[in-house]
């Protein structure tokens, strides 16, 4: 078995202690995935596993065996950026840029969660379809910390993409 990372097959590491995060950063040099705590508290290490957001610091690389992992490098490229990447630039959704890949990966999966009707703590009506409102986005993105305080720009960027997707 192997892990599919951004479309490429990669062998699972020998050392069973290696996290998915360290596999990406230290062995594959996919350093777009960041590390802020190694404890599941900051969201900087968020990647997509089979399309769902996971914290790669809390995931052993071995757990991704047979799955498909998408990192920020696989989400878009300089030539063909993901709409979220462009929107983050336009809305100044970052300053130092360190939490940014995690925010963008989380946002991509989060919009799919809303589209799939998954409710959140702030969803008022559980019988109606959830909508990507500012409050829903703020609640659902709260696992991704930003110390520079780019929160307004991040939410604006995500809202813009949600609107474009709805249109």
């Amino acid at each position: 078995m192997a892990i599919r990372i951004n479309g490429q097959e990669v062998a699972a590491p020998q050392d069973a202690r290696v996290s998915l995060l360290d596999l990406l950063r230290e062995q594959l040099h996919l350093t777009g995935t960041k590390v802020g705590c190694n404890q599941g508290a900051c969201g900087a290490c968020t990647v997509l596993v089979d399309g769902a957001r996971v914290l790669s610091c809390l995931t052993l690389a071995a757990q991704a065996d047979g799955r498909s992992v998408t990192t920020i490098e696989g989400l878009g490229s300089a030539e063909a950026p993901h709409p979220l990447q462009s929107a983050f630039i336009a809305h100044d959704g970052f300053q130092c840029g360190y939490c940014t890949p995690g925010q963008i990966c989380a946002a991509a999966a989060m919009l799919r969660e809303i589209a799939a009707g998954v409710p959140s703590y702030v969803t008022a009506d559980l019988t109606a379809p959830a909508l990507p409102t500012r409050d829903e986005i703020r609640e659902r993105m709260s696992g991704n910390l930003c110390r520079c305080g780019a929160h307004n720009g991040i939410v604006d960027a995500i809202l813009r993409v949600a609107e474009e997707q709805a249109a």
Binding site: D15, R17, V18, D22, R25, E26, H29, T31, G32, T33, K34, V35, G36, C37, N38, Q39, G40, A41, C42, A44, T71, I72, E73, G76, S77, A78, P81, Q85, S86, F88, I89, A90, D92, F94, Q95, C96, G97, Y98, T100, P101, V122, R134, I137, R138, E139, M141, S142, G143, N144, L145, C146, R147, C148, G149, A150, H151, N152, G153, I154, V155
Partner: protein, 770 residues
């Protein structure tokens, strides 16, 4: 030495008192003020694509051949000695290359502490690093393990056994007060200010408030962990770091390891958040030494806990603020005294009394800070050091006095607005705080506020509005250097060792240089974050932008002289002097006669030059001594507080700033908001929990230290007067730190307006309201 600094500053100030203003740098306002094209535009960040693509390479991400990994072990006692240190099990672990303790660490000197006089001194702690068996604070580094992989290093570090002989240490704030120290100066200000007899005025005042405010320790918590990747090559050293002071840390490391200056190169193109915390601490020194001993390139990434253990944060404080006013509300007495921690092995006073000296006029003042000496990791500067918590105390007191007098708190501030510096008597270079209040109040809808607390409600929620002033001094660093290269194709590059940690350093300076040189932004490049480049200023004190701007100004003047020399007699410029021309439209033109113009391309082509390179340094920042230069702000906020749970939500915030010229509204707005959000954390959630029995921080994780998350952060509106400061480069003042100031008080004042409860101890958690 600080006594001497006081004397020097005082005598320079006296001498300058006689110099006409226009003789000073900045005396003739920067000609770019009011003549800008690229400046003031909402340009996107130049490094945006790299950052959103995950391609910006931070210090822990540099790939190197034969890289090894390090992990640290920290002491678990406050004071004492190591009596047994067993590293055998760690050394026997597969993959381990080296265990370094005080036994085999190379002998090195002490790191020189950050100081005003020596710019290469950038240490935050002057304690010895792995030099002996003595423990001096809980969390001190006692061992480093180097292994082939991080997993192996982490595991081996857990196998090191240490016994200690503990001795009593000083860890209690209250007890340390008995031998508090009174420093002569706080940074470049005299510490003790006594104007008139404030205590007597206070006792006689028609209205007065007199209270004690407490603020807890706080930590920077940049999301990027402190990390270095180090490589030796013979006697030269390359350090990939994440640091706010590239040039001076290279100098300090060279001194420490006995290397020639040009043998040490520090690279730090991106800093993943700094806020004062990304300085020179023990881990860089340990990593450099371990890489040397191991004979391998090495990477050391601190764990989040490690950052708390060995990188200091903001000191806790206890501040007494007393205000006395006459029947009309004019201040007759301002008293601001207090305690914060500053151990002798640290360098950073928490300057909470500085705002008090600049904000209001008063008949009398009594200001004094006292320092407590504890056995802990030294505190350091954290975003708006002093001002962030000083404005909390003072601006709550003003609100309390306004309430007690039954007048609007903005009106009380208006009545006490100074027309010159209240202590030094020097003129303000520019100040429009009252205008900021008026515009902010109108925009925010301040009229909605009810003077009587607890009047506004919405179901279980009580609603309150509050405001407060923010303040931050202008600073420009001496010794900021740039290299300006102008090429024959009409492009230019500016290089300086300066730092980018989210301020948009390159973006804004490219906009500046475009206007300064008369070139389009696309034609200009900016190189930074490398000590091999001309030594730039550090990123601190909200000073980097103007410091770089002054250096670029100086470089453009040199460039003008050089171009005129090269242009010679065959140019339409022939006979013109530097004072007759300006740089515009891709070349030089006569100010009086626009038809006399020659392009850079043409001048360089005729002179057969590929490029012109000039090095320049910014002028001495004398404007700081002659004028009182401060940014200020009016912060407004609306909170709701639940009757049932005491939960506090910030519904709206608005910051109205008076900070000189705004160079890029997009990045500036982000910096203002970022500061205000850190202020929201300071007000409501942030607290470094220190166990005074064990001398150990208890919440050394991002799960237990609560910084604001998306759901805590409302939409924040920012606005500015935009009035240029006639005494500064570009008319700009710093904007990186002012945002956090005043926010703690604005929120506390809003909570009082909602509930009638006055909380004078941060953070305002719900238990304090029930």
């Amino acid at each position: 030495m600080s006594r001497m600094q006081n004397a020097v500053i005082a005598s320079v100030k006296t001498a300058l008192g006689w110099v006409p203003a226009q003789w000073l740098p900045g005396g003739t306002p920067d000609p770019l003020i009011g003549r800008s094209a690229a400046i003031g535009r909402q340009d996107n960040r130049l490094d945006g694509p790299a950052k959103v693509g995950g391609l910006a390479r931070f210090s822990a991400e540099v790939p190197l051949q034969r890289l090894s990994y390090a992990a640290l072990v920290y002491s678990s006692i406050v004071r004492g000695r190591i009596t047994r240190l067993d590293t055998a099990a760690a050394e026997a672990t597969p993959g381990v290359i080296l265990v370094m303790t005080h036994r085999n660490m190379p002998r090195i000197g002490l790191v020189p502490l950050i100081g005003v006089t020596d710019l290469s001194a950038v240490g935050n702690s002057s304690l010895p690093i792995l030099q002996d068996a003595t423990i001096r604070y809980n969390g001190q580094v006692v061992a480093a393990v180097v292994a082939e992989t991080q997993e192996q290093a982490d595991h081996a570090a857990s196998l090191i056994e240490i016994d200690y002989a503990a001795e009593p240490g000083k860890t209690r704030f209250e007890e340390a007060k008995t031998d508090a120290r009174t420093p002569a100066s706080i940074l470049i200000e005299k510490n003790h200010v006594s104007v008139g007899n404030a205590e007597r005025e206070l006792a006689a005042a028609a209205h007065r408030v007199d209270n004690v405010y407490r603020t807890p320790g706080q930590n920077h918590n940049a999301i990027e962990l402190h990390a270095v990747t180090v490589a030796w090559d013979g006697d030269s050293l390359v350090v990939h770091d994440t640091i706010q002071m590239v040039a001076s840390s290279a100098k300090a490391l060279a001194k420490l390891f006995g290397l020639k200056k040009d043998k040490v190169r520090v690279l730090s193109p991106f800093v993943g958040g700094g806020f004062g915390g990304k300085g020179l601490w023990d881990h860089q020194v340990v990593a450099v030494a371990a890489a040397k001993l191991a004979g391998r390139p090495l990477r050391l990434v601190l764990s989040r806990e490690g950052v708390y253990r060995i990188v200091g944060g903001r000191s806790p404080s206890e501040q007494r603020v007393a205000l006395g006013a006459d029947a009309d509300g004019r201040f007759t007495a301002i008293v601001h005294t207090g305690y914060s921690i500053m151990p002798p092995h640290g360098a950073c006073p928490e300057q909470y009394s500085l705002c008090t000296r600049a904000l209001y006029r008063s008949k009398s003042f009594e200001i004094l800070q006292r320092h407590l000496d504890l056995d802990i990791v030294p505190n350091t500067y954290m975003r708006a050091p002093g001002e962030a918590i000083g404005t909390f105390a003072v601006e709550c007191a003003v609100d309390e006095l306004a309430h007690e007098m039954g007048i609007d708190p903005i009106e009380l501030r208006r009545r006490n607005e100074p027309d010159r510096h209240p202590i030094h008597g020097s003129p303000f270079s520019q100040r429009a705080l009252i205008q900021a209040y008026e515009q902010g109040a109108a925009r925010f809808g301040w009229v909605r506020r009810q003077a009587e607390p607890g009047t506004l409600r919405d179901g279980e929620w009580r609603i309150g509005l509050g405001c407060a002033s923010g303040s931050f001094p202008y600073a420009r660093m001496p010794g900021a250097n740039v290299r300006l290269t102008l090429r024959s194709d009409g492009s230019a590059t500016i290089a300086s060792s300066a730092q980018e940690m989210g301020m948009g350093t390159a973006t804004v300076q490219v906009q500046h240089a475009a206007d300064r040189l008369g070139l389009p932004v696309e034609a200009i490049g900016f190189e930074l974050g490398d000590s091999a480049l001309p030594a730039g200023p550090m990123a601190g004190g909200s000073s980097q932008t103007v410091s770089l701007a002054a250096a670029i100004m100086a470089a453009s003047e040199k460039l003008t002289a050089e171009l005129l020399r090269l242009a010679g007699n065959d140019s339409p410029l022939a006979g013109l002097r530097a004072g007759d021309v300006r740089l515009l439209d891709g070349g030089i033109g006569a100010i009086e006669d626009p038809s006399r113009h020659e392009s850079y391309r043409s001048i360089l082509a005729r002179a057969a030059r590929d490029e012109i390179v000039v090095d320049a340094a910014g002028s001495a920042p004398l404007e700081m001594l002659k004028f009182a230069m401060h940014s200020s702000s009016a912060i407004f906020c609306e909170v709701r507080v639940s009757d049932v749970t005491g939960e506090i939500r910030v519904e709206r915030m608005l910051g109205s700033f008076d900070c000189g010229t705004i160079l890029n509204p997009k990045t500036a707005a982000s910096q203002f908001r970022g500061g205000m959000i850190m202020g929201l954390g300071l007000a409501l959630t942030e607290e470094t929990l220190f166990d005074e029995r064990s001398g150990r921080i208890m919440n050394a994780t991002l799960a237990d230290y609560h910084i604001p998350v998306h759901l805590d952060v409302p939409e924040i509106e920012v606005m500015w007067t935009g009035i240029a400061d006639p005494r500064s480069p570009l008319g700009a003042r710093g904007i990186g730190e002012i945002g956090i100031t005043g926010v703690g008080a604005a929120i506390a004042n809003a909570v009082f307006n909602a509930t009638g409860k006055r909380v004078r101890e941060l953070p305002i958690t719900l238990d304090k309201l029930l």
